[in-house]
Symmetry: C2
Subunit: 350 residues, 2 copies
């Protein structure tokens, strides 16, 4: 019998953050690809687009004009999935038909006035302003009595359902803890109660010793391809210090966070020399007015691309009915990302 | 204060099958769409394609020639995600780095020799042959000592990562219970222990009285847009009788299953008058040699399209970081599907 080799043999790995398994088929990238190709995102965009509803001074579909903003700009989403309004509801007592009204607020955060400037190409000082905006929003939204969780995220690229290339993210703040956050909190809590330490601190400390899956690191943060990653080039950005929310960051940590955000997104752009699509999101303690010593600030990056700028991983049949499945080992992905230059490919001297 | 209306007000619904919530934003389809469009799948295909590796008589990439098959044809996947081989593995005792080798077998099931004939256009008697093949595979694979679960599924359409339009599905059989199946089993089991009845039987009985979310029904099966559906036109096909596996179906039930499979896929094709993409999969009792009275045979259909043949729902940022979110109420989707003709649009007399 052969000895198990994680780079050759199918196996399952356990994700302690959400208490789920993932199937790893490391030998599977060898298969030829005859399926759908995505559009490559590499066309050069202008700094200002008169038809973009996010550019400064332009009119949005509801007739409101954007101000001539010069750095970060936040507004309420014109097509919100959540509404503030409180409604009267008589609960259905049948366990098969459980339904609860949900209140919330949706915002859009433009990262830069420039239509063509995404995070990897922004100045670190401008990324700091985005972080400052996230902090302000976390406080403003989180202090409302009907808001218990603030989800900050970004969909980047048409393949990620992003309808506008203008650099922007979103914030969905709501009454309930969303499913993924509740699962994470549950795991962090159990671990903290048993071990009196942060699950993610322990995990990161172990990864920093192994170094096998670390992509980037600075004094206050590290980016790792998690042992249990689902997406081909998924990464997890973790704070080295154990704190629960974005507003607990010191000035130096904020700068280090901005730097590593730029760092990981440059790596991504460099991977296939394209404006790299992904969904990213910050997971942090709820704003439910309860103390959460178990929470450890982190940010997920879920990029869909697998083989090239145009071939993505499809999370379909087996993945939907069975479980998430990946075709390349997390260790290999980490090595590939780690070895990429830290300078953005557009700045490369030929 | 306004009274809650499920067609206007954002709310969350509970999925008792996997113990998770979904966010419903029924007012949200009103927003304009400026994002990515998919290719429309409506081009006419030939009955035989010399370049298709699934057509009868053609050579596959490993040099093996397909037989001149005349109905259903099964073979081992040339690019399997799972392998049969047993390997020696020393378990890592660190709870952060849990990994287990996984053994399994991957098969491909061609539904028809005709390159252009998908389930909605097949004869019921030919669909019965597909079901017969699924039964045989469930027995053959499930009787191997290292196989504890047999996942039968189909990815249809390029947008679902399907690399070949030739009508086919897949079977992944493996040692472990995949994540989604384990969650479902857990819920079915809890319910059965407490109530001594099948969760899905009780659910279906309630839906058959309400009629609000039923799309199709015959003597032995019904198709419903589940109360907790995630995808815009997601459906759940449930057997009326409580049995756990495909091999427990009587002859009449098998015919009724074939008929309703044709019925729901015709509805789907008719929705946007296109070859409708989806991932579908059968959930049934494991083959782990233990009795499973809690299991209730069902089949999920997860179609991505939302607004038209070219605009899909993106399950991205919020959905990945927070929770699944839908933009149309399940009741509305059910009514739309229910009202569609039962005759395939291509057979319509102009
Ligand atoms: O096996 P196929 O059809 O080549 O591949 C497709 O289905 C598989 C099972 O759902 C997925 O893992 C792949 O990402 C998808 O492209
Ligand atoms: O809000 P947007 O950017 O129009 O929409 C995008 O992000 C949302 C939040 O992840 C998703 O619900 C939508 O499906 C997606 O198209």
């Amino acid at each position: 019998m052969q000895t198990f080799n994680p780079n050759d043999h199918p196996h399952r790995r356990y994700n302690p953050l959400i208490d789920e398994w993932v199937l790893v088929s490391p030998h599977r990238t060898k298969r030829p690809w005859q399926g759908q190709n995505e559009k490559n995102n590499s066309e050069a965009l202008p700094e200002y687009d008169a038809n973009c509803y996010l550019c400064p001074g332009n009119e949005r579909s509801n007739g409101i004009k954007n101000p001539n903003y010069t750095d970060c700009f936040v507004f309420e989403n014109d097509f919100a999935a959540l509404l503030e309004e409180e409604v009267v509801h008589e609960p259905n007592l049948n366990p098969m038909f459980q339904l609860k009204p949900e209140r919330g607020i949706n915002k859009v955060v433009c990262f830069s006035p420039k239509h063509n400037l995404t995070i990897p190409e922004m100045e670190v000082s401008d990324i700091e302003k985005v972080i400052q905006t996230w902090k302000e929003q976390y406080i403003e939204l989180g202090s409302k009595d009907f808001i218990n969780y603030v989800q900050i995220f970004e969909n980047k690229g048409a393949v990620m359902g992003c309808s506008n290339p203008h650099p922007h993210g979103q914030i969905w703040a709501q009454s309930s803890l969303p499913t993924q956050v509740a699962k994470t909190q549950n795991s962090l809590e159990k671990y903290f109660e048993t071990n009196k330490r942060s699950l993610l601190k322990e995990y990161l400390d172990a990864e920093l010793i192994k170094k096998e899956r670390i992509v980037l690191e600075n004094e206050h943060f590290a980016v790792v391809v998690p042992f249990w990653a689902i997406w081909p080039y998924e990464t997890l950005l973790i704070s080295k210090r154990h704190f629960g929310t974005i507003i607990a960051m010191s000035k130096e940590e904020t700068l280090a966070f901005a730097e590593i955000l730029k760092g990981i997104t440059i790596k991504y752009d460099n991977l296939f020399e394209t404006s790299f699509p992904y969904s990213s999101g910050i997971h942090q303690a709820p704003t439910d007015r309860v103390s959460h010593p178990e929470w450890h600030f982190h940010m997920h990056f879920y990029p869909p691309l697998l083989r090239s700028a145009t071939v993505k991983k499809f999370m379909v049949g087996y993945e939907m009915m069975g479980e998430a499945q990946r075709d390349i080992s997390p260790e290999k992905s980490a090595a590939i990302l780690r070895d990429l230059p830290t300078l953005h490919y557009k700045l490369k001297k030929e």
